[in-house]
């Protein structure tokens, strides 16, 4: 067992906090992390709540594995209703915060209401205080953390927002340890809407599990035989930047707002180029891999850039100047914004400008103009007001919806679905909009043995991957450990001292996916929202391995219908009563 069994509920309006027992049955049904956070939000949030109103809640959820010696178990799930999409939103963030929260004695924190003035929450074991944050307000996410360390303790672990979150930008993120983000869907704005600048935690408690020495020794064995292997060590040797070469060669590297799947200057922004400016490495709590590459140039320092930033802030904006991308990354990190969405909205504005639809003064490859945008969006001034709307709302205002690359208002990550048709389905059916972390069939389609350009078998593949990832993010583990469900089952069984099979775990995954879907259905989402921008269905790619490819609409619809049917959902994408009953979701 490794739950603390305690949940901390903090009402920022009243300043009242209380400790509650964690719902044991829900912990069995949803484990922790993403799943358990979703369950709490689903039960506690009335339908139709405005995401930036005091009625929305922000849930921090650790998991069964958090704080233990299980490698790669350092992540925290953050769950809320998204101001970018109106859907359910869960993000996972690395670093050391989650473990510290658990050592402080809590599995979860539920934040409610809105503080009357800028505040931060301080938790130290049983001490819970809402403190004045007037001197922090307006500071960058990184400065905020430095000030908190200075004021409290060098080893305090913090979550913070930057000016973008304060200004309710719906692409703002939550930051920890300078460079780790709960990036997507505007979690930062939810914190900002609550007048909550930061959450700082110190924990001194211990976590016990049965037969701890034997348990640790089996985990050491897993580390040697299942983690420090050829299958996972790319994260250490290169980190996600390695994907630039993968995606260039498979024709799925988003370029110039997804007009192309290859980038002529890819070698200027790939892992080899990045190694020249690498100056250190850092991992999250209990991570044996260490994917964080610390990069320094004359102008800026950053952990990364990660692949998503290299793609969406690089090739997709036609930018091949690595120093500029690093600066862009650094700006977004400190202002507290998601580089995926910011990169996308810049690329979209570049195309709107070049097509003469709306002149933002932005052109593909124009480094100078590109570097001004993060500051304008975060401060909500000039064209930053428009660009801060995100791709969906910007297209509703000025046009260009066919090449507004988003699903449900969340901008595309860095994988071209015309070169990985299952990825298209994964984007369209992901619970929070276009996301690569709910299912990533790219590995099987673009890189693996499956035919990327067919819908055959893809619905089933995406379903299995969605269940797998839902379990992983509920345990909670980092997605860079490519472990089997069977291995997950072994570890869970050892902790809970009862046999948990891979089938049971997979069913937890299915339960989580269905609950998330129910949340979105309750919010009014239908089949019409499970779609992709027109570009994917109408325009063929012109270069590389995906030359001549599009995803035919009728094929897509066939795949989507099959997906609903295999899921036991009706033709409009609603989970049937029978399915919900089978899973115990109500």
């Amino acid at each position: 067992m490794s739950y603390t069994g305690k949940l901390l509920r903090v009402n920022l309006t009243t300043g009242h906090s209380q400790v509650e027992e964690l719902n044991k049955q829900w912990a069995v049904d949803y484990i922790g992390g993403k799943g358990l956070g979703l369950k709490y939000l689903y039960e506690e949030l009335a339908p139709g709540v405005a995401p930036l109103s005091p009625d929305n809640k922000l849930i921090l959820m650790t998991g069964l594995f958090t704080g233990t010696i299980i490698p790669l178990s350092g992540k925290l799930a953050i769950i809320t209703k998204s101001p970018a999409t109106g859907t359910i939103l869960d993000c996972s963030i690395g670093g050391h915060f989650a473990a510290e929260l658990k050592y402080a004695g809590y599995d979860a924190v539920i934040l409610e209401g809105k503080a009357s003035k800028p505040s931060y929450l301080y938790i130290e074991d049983k001490i819970v205080e809402i403190r004045d944050a007037s001197e922090l307000w307006g500071q960058g996410a990184q400065e905020t953390e430095l000030i908190l360390r200075e004021k409290i303790n060098q080893e305090v672990k913090a979550l913070a927002i930057g000016p973008a979150g304060e200004n309710l930008v719906t692409m703002s993120c939550i930051t920890s340890e300078f460079y780790r983000q709960a990036g997507r869907g505007g979690v930062g704005a939810v914190m900002g809407s609550k007048n909550l600048k930061a959450i700082a935690v110190r924990g001194s408690g211990s976590i016990s599990v049965p037969n701890i020495k034997q348990f640790a020794s089996s985990m050491k064995e897993f580390m040697q035989t299942d983690i420090l292997t050829d299958t996972n060590l790319w994260a250490n040797t290169d980190g996600t930047a390695l994907l630039v070469d993968f995606n260039q060669d498979t024709g799925i590297l988003p370029t110039k707002n997804f007009q192309q799947g290859t980038f002529d200057d890819y070698q200027a922004i790939n892992s080899d180029a990045l190694k020249a400016v690498r100056s250190g490495k850092k991992g999250c709590f209990s991570c044996a891999l260490g994917c964080g590459n610390y990069s320094r140039t004359g102008r800026s320092t950053v952990e990364g850039p990660e692949y998503e930033t290299l793609a969406l802030g690089g090739s997709n904006c036609g930018i091949s100047d690595l120093e500029a991308i690093i600066e862009f990354n650094d700006l977004c990190d400190n202002l507290g914004m998601d580089t995926i969405s910011v990169g996308n909205v810049i690329a979209f504005a570049m195309e709107l400008t070049e097509k003469g639809i709306k002149d933002f003064g932005l052109r593909f490859g124009d480094v100078e103009a590109y570097l001004k945008i993060p500051g304008l969006i975060a401060a909500q001034v000039g064209i930053g007001v428009d660009l801060g709307l995100g791709v969906k709302k910007l297209s509703e205002k000025y046009g260009g919806s066919d090449f507004a690359m988003h699903v449900k208002g969340l901008e595309f990550p860095g994988y071209e679905p015309r070169g990985s048709w299952g990825m298209g389905l994964a984007y369209a059916t992901s619970d929070r909009g276009a996301c690569h972390m709910r299912a990533w069939p790219v590995a099987q389609e673009a890189y693996g043995d499956l035919d990327a350009f067919t819908v055959e078998g893809k619905a089933q593949l995406v379903i299995e991957l969605q269940h797998y990832n839902a379990v992983k993010f509920s345990l909670i583990l980092c997605d860079f450990w490519a472990l089997s469900l069977e291995t997950m089952g072994t570890i869970v069984s050892n902790l809970l001292e009862r046999t948990v099979t891979e089938q049971e775990l997979s069913q937890v995954g299915e339960r989580v996916v269905n609950l998330a879907r129910q949340f979105n259905v309750r919010e009014g989402f239908t089949k019409d929202n499970d779609t992709l921008p027109g570009r994917i269905f109408k325009e063929t790619l012109k270069t590389g391995a995906t030359k001549g490819q599009l995803l035919p609409l009728e094929e897509y619809e066939k795949m989507l219908a099959e997906y609903y049917s295999l899921r036991g959902w009706d033709r409009d994408g609603r989970p049937t009563d029978a399915k919900l009953q089978e899973l115990g979701v109500n």
């Binding site: 299958t231 390695l242 993968f246 080899d272 990533w440 890189y447 490519a482």
Partner: protein, 76 residues
């Protein structure tokens, strides 16, 4: 005949550890034979690209081919 080889990430240890390198191979050689000769376990091998085209191990190598071996990768 001469080909160019590049191993990525943790697979570099099966190559020159210098990035791109050239190697002399017999003519009429398949990717499978090359993989075997280089001692790369199949369980470690992800994407294989020859001249920017994804290939399976049955591919027959040609003079001046550029072969890239990528590791298996999860997440993104």
């Amino acid at each position: 005949m001469k080909i160019t080889i590049r191993f990525y990430g943790p697979l570099d240890k099966y190559g020159s550890q210098l990035g791109l390198y050239q190697q002399e191979i017999k003519s009429d050689f398949t990717l499978a034979q090359l993989v075997e000769q280089l001692g790369v376990p199949y369980s470690s091998l992800g994407l294989v690209v020859v001249n920017s085209v994804k290939r399976d191990v049955g591919y027959r190598l040609e003079e001046n081919d550029e072969v890239k071996f990528f590791p298996i990768i999860a997440g993104g």
